[in-house]
Symmetry: C2
């Protein structure tokens, strides 16, 4: 007897970076044709005629914009670079507003030339600088904790606890947390911290992929759901148990899959989504 499959695509979202070789037009059409309901747009995928046009394109295809990826990268030993980062994040907020994306995901950044504590203070200062504008535009922000393997240059926020602490420090309904299974699956504190995040109404996004064994490139060898060791459905259960009702966003960086036929890859994604997430 075949395993009983789930058949509900209503909460499936795909990140444009997952199908990086596709243009935004092509991605939107292919996602819509497969019944994928949500799309998260990476800034490099914005249509040439701008964010507003990208938003229209997506809505015309019947898709929902889940978020714009990504802002962040606030810390730097250089004050000038920190100011540049804030300006760039403000631009991202305008783009999100223009395309009517409800959320900007923050990969918060780190500078290995200074302590993680200093980087975290600079992240806080960066968010402080953009949060009023986000609130005014009605665009939410989500702090995404990144796996500790990226603590050197990508995120001084390595755990759900740290992301929760940051969100709670601001106590703004516009600032929450993005949970990505790849980054947090190893963490013994995860169940408690997801519950805490949910109690505060701060789970703003949920990203899925898998951790391959072995993983050959820590950045761009992410697996399709079911190809690795993450208990994706278990974490999804925690997130939904904590009150999250949003999309399951497939975010896979993979040099291997980017080289394959993207139609076949999308078929695999929808199949893996039903079976393993």
């Amino acid at each position: 007897m075949k395993t009983q499959q789930l058949t509900d695509f209503s909460r499936l979202c795909v990140h444009t970076i997952t199908t990086k070789p596709l243009s935004i037009e092509s991605a939107v059409n292919k996602y819509a044709a497969l019944g994928i309901r949500g799309i998260t747009v990476w800034r490099d995928a914005l249509a040439e005629d701008g964010a507003a046009a990208t938003g229209r394109l997506i809505r015309d295809a019947g898709l929902e914009i889940v978020s714009l990826c990504r802002g962040g990268f606030f810390p730097s030993v250089s004050k000038e670079k920190r100011a540049i980062a804030v300006a760039d994040n403000l631009r991202a907020l305008e783009e999100a507003a223009d395309m009517e994306a409800p959320l900007v995901v923050l990969v918060c950044g780190a500078d290995s030339g200074q302590s993680l504590e200093t980087s975290r203070l600079q992240i806080r200062a960066g968010i402080e600088n953009i949060l009023p504008r986000a609130e005014k535009l009605g665009v939410k922000l989500a702090v995404e904790p990144l796996h500790p393997v990226y603590a050197d240059t990508r995120s001084a926020i390595s755990t759900m606890k740290q992301a929760n602490d940051m969100a709670n420090w601001f106590n703004s309904p516009s600032l929450g947390v993005a949970v990505d299974v790849y980054h947090v699956w190893w963490d013994e504190e995860l169940p408690g911290e997801i519950a805490r995040c949910g109690e505060n109404g701060k789970i703003f996004a949920f990203h899925i992929c898998d951790w391959k064994v072995p993983v050959n490139d820590i950045l761009n060898d992410r697996g399709l759901m079911g190809e690795g060791c993450i208990d994706i459905r278990g974490i999804r259960g925690l997130v939904e148990g904590a009150g999250f009702e949003g999309f399951n966003e497939v975010e896979i960086f993979s040099e291997i899959y980017w080289k394959t036929d993207q139609d076949k890859f999308l078929d695999k994604i929808t199949e893996a989504y039903l079976l393993h997430s």
Copy 2:
């Protein structure tokens, strides 16, 4: 004016794996000639005539044996493999006793085919199976937390907190923790957990190297002290502040350095030790 250099080698130890191309005889002679006082022996470096002979060789050269690396790798979905692991750990204990090494370091293991919780229970069971023999032989065991990037196959114990919890659960003077800067530097809880470990008298070993930016191979591209972003001296300060008085053990896995002239590499190690740790 030149930077004031420390000149004390009395607490410097080198792991045989750091100079992997050298035979044990050659490593011992070179370390001793440079004034390096301690050696941690990896099991693959044991002399052909056995552990006892290796111990004599080391003591005859005036070096102190700091530990034998390594035991562990307890978890497996296969009961048979778990039994094989226990048997192998018992052999490691005999080797340590034969060579008069005071400590065996445990890289605890993980099996990606099961949950991390299950792997941790199997680690506990594995330690339970070997601890009485360790106590009888007068050989200590140190649980080494490994960076979360290794949670898939190398260690379900990813943080100092988890290592402390494991050591405290047993509450045996023969079971403690090995602190390796490479694995724990990213952890916000590190100061508190090192203090906790020290209060319980459980810091049994301290390993140093550096986290290169970027790190090109997560296993075998470790940096010499000063080549990366770890605040080694800061962590050393925490460990010593918590009462640790043992060796600073240089443990560097590096395909790059293994290919270089090992005499020059050892010169770099002693120089980097004084400047950056």
